[in-house]
Subunit: 332 residues, 4 copies
């Protein structure tokens, strides 16, 4: 029997979405199934805006950043009649299930669609890497490389000018990106949401570091980093406020770099393309098998599927062991 | 109590060795322990050629490829008096243990030193990724990116010239690098040691592929790939013989690229630096704790240690599930 | 006769400075001359803070970003007694001349030292590429690659989310970096200091562009871009004000990325290493020859030297022909 | 009046061809002219295999390596009736001229078409950079980055293993790629066609170098490098023979890397995209103006056009000044 399966990408864009889409369309085509791609996430399902994805359409997209389907932060359960509209599209299009490539928000929102009776197969993607149940999310590996390369660059400027460099990276609720890129690029301090930083202590450690011969330091700050003491009130981002505070506390010339949207963009690394391909195929297999709604996951070397409700546990924090490791390598 | 721990890198060089060395020296320095770095692998231990590694000495090496200690394919158990010389160095230098960063060969050889009474802590590194017991080995992630990027490049040349492009990558006993880089870069066929390829069947599939509109294909071949039918006898590498055979069988203009040493070199990716840092710290902790010989490993998100004898199980083949996945995406 | 030549890097740091330093030290060493490297630009000369640079000291720096000498925006002619202190250092150190690697500011300031009787050999470096007399300045080529890659990344995010993306790049007085990276990365509009942009017209063109099927656009803005109409008053950078203005005028969701310090950092491209090596050797030859003060320059395939006063002509604007070209490829 | 202009890419593929095609099609479209793209170089013209290129068709190709038109090493003047077939296609398609993007071979061959009465506008492209009349050819800048990055990688392997590393790069008649990438990546010796290398002298210098403390060296060899003494007779490439000879002469463990097709592939650097865009627009303008056949060129900061016959002067060798520079930085 040939199936007809919906597919959408939701939430913020990231590298690797197209690699997943390609893998799903290719394996579906081998099985004789059809994939209906909806535009701009759930909004496309609600508005019935989708069309058939073919091998031809997905040719050459493996290396491309972004998503050929477009994406949006739109949750049907938060809109009057949203879920009903989804059900109507499923009915009208004759869909046997929907594969949803999304982050914590999009997938959590998909649970309510699943409860309304549609088979949902969730594929975790987010540069924040905080979907519960999987080791890695699509897009994270590339974002770590991008952020680490930027921190590498900032190091050389700091050293040439004897400066304190503050780099703000994404991560509103978890510090995965800040911690992994910071450790990889040899940051001297890393501030994350999971464990509040005491800025006065950090400043005193940085002064001590410079007293013993270093002439510059790099501090990586997650967007959602927590602090025990009050930051200097500044209108800017958390990075701007940390930079102002550290400059005041240490007396070192300080410069801020906010990485911004470059963290989401660009061609996926081979590692992200491989992960996206593995998760995409697993998602198709689960959808094709027609069982209950599920979240596909990569655990160690296995690709597997978990109950979709796994995502409801909320954002997955950075493991304590990683935080301890970072602490041993940085001034704090 | 302060310890004195030996450290060496053995086998082929790869990206991330310096990141591991740096992490070990930094954490040892925090604990008041001393690290004696030996030059050129086990040869340095046998010859007593080593010196103290300091934070100063390891400054700025996180991003550097290769190894500041030098490396060699030298196994003390294969040399008359080799093991005795190691024991003498251990005695003379007052070493409490030796951290050995190596691949399958170096680590297997380390087992005999451990049996002679020296605490050995093995750290898995190899672009072949085939050390049993760990999800990933230091150097593999970078090699996959390098190989995939090269395959990406070869794709565009193939398409511009209507050619069959054969790319030979490293991997004498296992196909990790060929499979992961091949899938990531959208190779049309991948030949590995784990499952023999039938070249005639491959040629026929490639012809079919070109008949249905494609004008070029990329075939990735591991150095140690197995074949069911005989290759055209050519004096060159396996890649050269596959290229000659496929050109004869398909009639397509065929070109070979042998990636060679570039696969080992270069700055490690952030992912490799992070893994090397994690494994380096774990290795120091195990050495510092002073228990039995061990292999440190990364499994899922955990860093852990296993009995050193784990490596004796031999090279870890690519999982069956990866091979199945590759098969579904390629012409074979 | 063996000479003793001073060397400093001044102004903002950029990739390629170390490659130039290495070339100067290597060729000097071949000639038996000595190079005294001063720290933190002119400040090091004023304070007599310098030491002998050897081949050993400059080993392995070819690929490194930043400058091993450190740099500073310090002009002796703007400090009471500054020039006198320089002359004293020249006397005390027995310097036959000083090689100054710097941008428009540092080199212009060097003219007054030359007038005080010291042989100055200027080497043009700046990611702004605006030193008069040379086709290219050290650091520019790398900055263009970095900025273009960032714009490439931002493109994919814009397309996935149907957004207007504004990217602010460096360039206070000239638009070299904005124009070259913008054209290379296919920006839809580029705002530079040399020709004022009419924002209303730009907004209307962007609306037209989106009406005819495009769903996103990328606007590159130099820090010092000029505008004919008033920007929405915003406290942020010029990019922030352009983004706010365009969002208001077009109604498109708009996002800003400020590239910041990453534009200065990182390993130099091969092209910058080659240019730095050529200019470094030329500078040494001119210093060794002992003639009048000069600016070394790269013109077409030639490396040559010009009167140092050439730099006094002020920042070199982007050629009219480049601006015309950009205009033909963008919406404006 | 609206024109109809043919367009083809000939010779070996290289990065930046698509950027040139895009620029030509975009500016033609602005002028109301039509561009007919022929497939696989001159063969497409001879066979009348071409179609109209639109902005839609060239969307998103700026960053793509290779050429959407395909290419071939096919010269109409070497085939019976070749030139007549070209003239017939020109007549039948109503072409006002043909823009030919090609290297030394393709452009020289185009001269005979021009002499037969067709307006030819040549655009120089080749990773060999040896078209007479222009500072740079499309594709060269990217190839230099690719080769230099590979040499960087090989350096770290050489240092880790105490080896002599030989890297063979492209360049049959000129040493542009070998010299520029070798100098940029700090090669210890560079062998090119322009000046024969004395291998015995090279070996003796390398031995001296290793005697004074270096433990590894990198020798870059152009495919067409000339030698004064006889190489060890080996069946392999010139690189293989140089490696065998140097290993015999020095006694150092030696390894060979042949870069191969990766040098042609991949996404163009920003610098190549900018050059291709400039030359593409100039070519369109010259074709649109309808004058005599011409070669467009980049000289210093200017884009200009020269008589097409300029290319007949033959391949442009590396300037003497570059060779002298390389000599001062390497052991020879």
């Amino acid at each position: 029997m040939h199936l007809r399966i919906g597919l959408l990408t939701g939430g913020g864009d990231c590298p690797g979405l197209n690699a997943a889409i390609r893998a799903i369309v290719r394996t579906a085509s081998n099985s004789g199934d059809e994939i209906v791609g909806f535009h701009h996430g759930w909004r496309g399902v609600v508005e019935g805006d989708g069309d058939l994805l073919t091998n031809e359409r997905t040719k050459g997209i493996l290396q491309a950043g972004g998503t050929i389907l477009g994406t949006a932060r739109y949750h049907p359960d938060e809109h009057e009649g949203g879920i009903r509209a989804v059900l109507e599209t499923v009915e009208r299009e004759g869909l046997d299930g929907i594969i949803v490539i999304g982050g914590d928000g999009t997938l959590t929102s998909a649970v309510s669609i699943a409860e309304a009776g549609v088979q949902i197969v969730g594929v975790p993607k987010t540069i924040d890497n905080d979907v519960t149940g999987t080791d890695s999310c699509i897009g994270f590996a590339t974002a770590v490389e991008t952020a680490a390369e930027a921190i590498d660059r900032v190091h050389t400027t700091g050293e040439s000018h004897d400066r304190l460099m503050v780099v703000e990276v994404m991560g509103r609720t978890t510090g995965w990106l800040a911690l992994c890129s910071g450790v990889a690029a040899g940051a001297d301090a890393i501030c994350i949401p999971e464990e509040p930083t005491r800025l006065e202590e950090l400043a005193s450690m940085l002064r001590k570091r410079h007293d013993s011969g270093s002439n510059s330091s790099v501090v990586v700050v997650a967007e959602g980093a927590a602090f025990e003491d009050e930051l200097i009130a500044d209108q800017g981002s958390v990075g701007a406020r940390v930079a102002a505070s550290l400059e005041a506390l240490t007396g070192f010339e300080t410069r801020l770099t906010v990485l911004g949207h470059v963290q989401r963009g660009g061609s996926p690394t081979a590692s992200d393309r491989f992960l996206a391909t593995r998760l995409g195929i697993e998602a198709f297999d689960v959808a094709h098998a027609g069982g209950p709604s599920a979240l596909v996951a990569s655990i160690s070397e296995r690709t597997t599927s978990l109950p979709l409700a796994t995502v409801a546990a909320g954002p997955k924090p950075v493991p304590k062991s990683y935080i301890d490791m970072a602490r041993r390598l940085t001034v704090l």
